[in-house]
Symmetry: D2
């Protein structure tokens, strides 16, 4: 594929960068996940990646943690085929994410779980990674990303957690006992980045997860040696989500000679391809 042009060539370079990163034992590997890839169906693949140590630290949006936990409680998303209007879905108690639907009742189930976990936590001020860890530990489903990360001692940061249904449930149920100090996340992730000689990252979508990893790499003085970004966002309007990785060089967030690829593709199409290719070649297994 590297001998092809356009997207196919970039897919080849993404494979190369990920493969080299996977083999590098002196590299702390980060994955950032934004968007709706978990309810789209990539949940078990990312859980598999956690189990098989494709990464050492994970950054999720609040919605990402929400979606993973809800499925862990047995509440699976549905698929829509455009038949119903949003007004009709509202009446049916179904929330829409493009062509995916999540039941309102699933959120209720999540809320009682959250309530119960919060109760078990001593009053205090926590980084988000500790709240996520408490939630993951209480979960039984081994198909869960958060659970698998707990089992493998992989921290899951969610610095934007308050901006999610889960965040609003924590807010409503914490009764002031549990506070979330996001500065602790910075502390922890910087230490994580600093713990190896090199750092690398796979960005599935942009948003807070992408930037938080870049910022940690910079702050820990570990500009990324490997970086693969998969997104459909475009760069010209200046948002960080669509910014080309190249730009991060000027910020000292990415090494000038880093192995990198900017793949413009739906994550739900590209990630399974890349992981399948990585798995197929035995020598890349840890």
């Amino acid at each position: 594929m590297k001998k092809m042009g356009l997207g196919a060539g970039e897919l080849g370079r993404a494979y190369d960068a990920l493969s080299a990163m996977r083999r590098d034992r002196s590299c702390t590997k980060f994955v950032g996940v934004a968007g709706a890839v978990i309810p789209a169906g990539l949940r078990s693949l990312i859980a598999h990646m956690a189990k098989h140590r494709y990464f050492d630290a994970l950054v999720l949006t609040g919605a990402g943690v929400t979606h993973d936990l809800m499925e862990g409680l047995g509440e699976r998303p549905l698929l829509l085929r455009g038949e119903a209007s949003d007004e009709a879905l509202l009446k049916k108690g179904v929330h829409r994410i493009y062509d995916i639907a999540v039941k309102r009742s699933s959120y209720a189930k999540l809320e009682s779980f959250v309530k119960q976990v919060l109760r078990s936590m001593p009053a205090g001020c926590y980084g988000t990674y500790r709240v996520v860890e408490a939630l993951g530990s209480a979960l039984k489903d081994r198909g869960s990303i958060v659970k698998q990360c707990c089992l493998s001692s992989i921290p899951v940061y969610s610095p934007g957690i308050v901006d999610s249904v889960l965040g609003s449930q924590i807010w409503a149920r914490s009764q002031g006992r549990v506070k979330i100090n996001v500065l602790e996340d910075m502390n922890h992730i910087v230490d994580k980045a600093w713990s190896s000689r090199r750092a690398g990252a796979l960005f599935l979508g942009g948003g807070v997860p992408k930037h938080f990893i870049l910022l940690a790499a910079h702050t820990a003085n570990r500009p990324l040696s490997y970086a693969v970004q998969i997104t459909m966002d475009r760069p010209e309007h200046g948002g960080l989500s669509g910014a080309k990785l190249q730009e991060a060089v000027s910020w000292r967030k990415l090494l000038p000679g880093a192995k990198r690829a900017d793949l413009i593709c739906d994550v739900s199409i590209a990630l399974p391809l890349l992981v399948a290719a990585l798995e197929e070649r035995n020598d890349h297994k840890p």
Copy 2:
């Protein structure tokens, strides 16, 4: 313009929705800002909007607060014309945001300002809006968005603040004395949304600012009555940033009959047009 099709028609509908929102005295007006619109040159326009009460609450990314404060300290961004490589920019101490450049020395200046402000704050656990208020109050520049918001008692939330240079400076300089409890932001913004009969929003880009406003509207039981979104992101890959506003109806974040527009345009082009049109018609002035 409403009689035109495609983008021009949507621009007309955006004007209509904003104009109706501006006239509605029983509506709490939110603006969410993501992306690089402040260094791109919209800073004074948004400050003008704050001064003239186009909105009652503002949600910024951490980068948004960072960019506004830095200019408030006299550090203006530069424009690039593609002449230098990112490697060369790194050597020159210049960070790139598409075609905009920010000097590394500007960040140093920001850091001493942050340090000084943090020192003046009693030890404690703060919502981001309180930290931003402390920073804005200490600033002298009336061209600043954050300053103008302070002067007009408009809260500025930045729930993703830790994910920014400013956030990392707060982290480095707070010495554990100042903590950031993002749950307090939720508390405050929900109260804000709840304080009027209706709510409305203008979303400049997506990201955390967009979702945090939608979530607040939902939690406060004030689904938006007016909503205008300006973004270049597309909906099909399921991210919230590019999701059509229509989708929010199924979440009870937007009223089924809300006046709304989904404008697919660079914010730096569309916002000046819309505000100019709103200003031109005297009857829309408050």
Copy 3:
């Protein structure tokens, strides 16, 4: 605007390039139009541009000519607000172009006009510009782009004409008497480009109109000295429509030092802005 970044800065550069091109009397000015901008509402603006000699040659898609002629026959497009399904529109005899609707009966009216015009033409093999000229001359509506071009002796090329309803009507009604030799278009447009010392172009969308102008400029040894492109297409998948103008330098279709701008914007928003700005400054009037 030139002092702004991102899209706003590019809009400023687009103005500069167009303004310089308009003042240059030794430059053959081309405009290429693709997409649905005519039924979207830009028809009278482009006709105005023809009348006021903003360009010396026009390249339209077959659909562009079709839409202009139909309106010239009194058949105006409608605007949809998403209320009806495509199945329902099919039953009502209404064809959809995103949020624009064209009545099937309008095409029937066009067909009798085409039939009549073809009858008046001697049997032979014509370039598309001659067929379009015959159609425009027979039209009475001075609000028509094609008519205004006839009145101002501006050739209108439509090398992809067969790929349109108009093309299929010509095919059905020509009865073998009228043939379309697209090589004649190449002949004529190359002469046109060759007739001045310099050439410049405004590309509204990509497609055949964009490339045909670039090819003519190259073939006539008049690489563009001015070029402005307005499109929402992106470059990374390699299509010519979304290709950055810069790329044309390597093809000798654009001069290395050409004044140029790549504006990423809906044409229906950007074109009125640019023409209004050009009109406002008296010194730019010819």
Copy 4:
């Protein structure tokens, strides 16, 4: 994949539609190709598809025929890694298509081939499919798409041929002896569509190839029963290239109940995946 959401779900539906189309012996199958997929590396895959009768008729852009013939003459495109500026490439005699490069000397080689083939054709007025057939027959390379189509009696239409380097070479070398009557293409493709009970299409990119097939299906009264579109273009600005297939229902170009998929993906990534999946399942082989 059909059980997934977002792009992965659409990929599953694309497979389903193509698989059903492949099994349907009463369906004339069309493929339309726009963009730079041939020099990107899909040439041999599309030639393979011709040989194994994945389609009965092909519509190419002029550039598509150009690229296929040049490789057939031994002139292969190169890959760039962004190292050289377009000014430098111009000096080196290399033309750029995003990250692909084509040598100027390759075009010279093509020109002498074209000259020779044109000489062998009797003076007259030809449809583009006949010119392409003459070129393909004269070619020896069985890896060529055009050649394979000749060998399998699959017509290749290129109604926009004049808008390409090949078109300009035909123009320059035909000396008025050879004329191109695009109305003959319409005639031939409508007959082709009409020859089976049903029609189906795979659109790789948009442009003239997409619309010409839709128009032929409509004119022949064979609205498509199967349709798969792979493109990165977006629909909101009204161009046909990015229009959702659904829209074609209102035009009677697509049956309301057609099996269809709108895949938003780089063709160079998606097509190999889809063909590999179709090949893997023996029962789908003809």
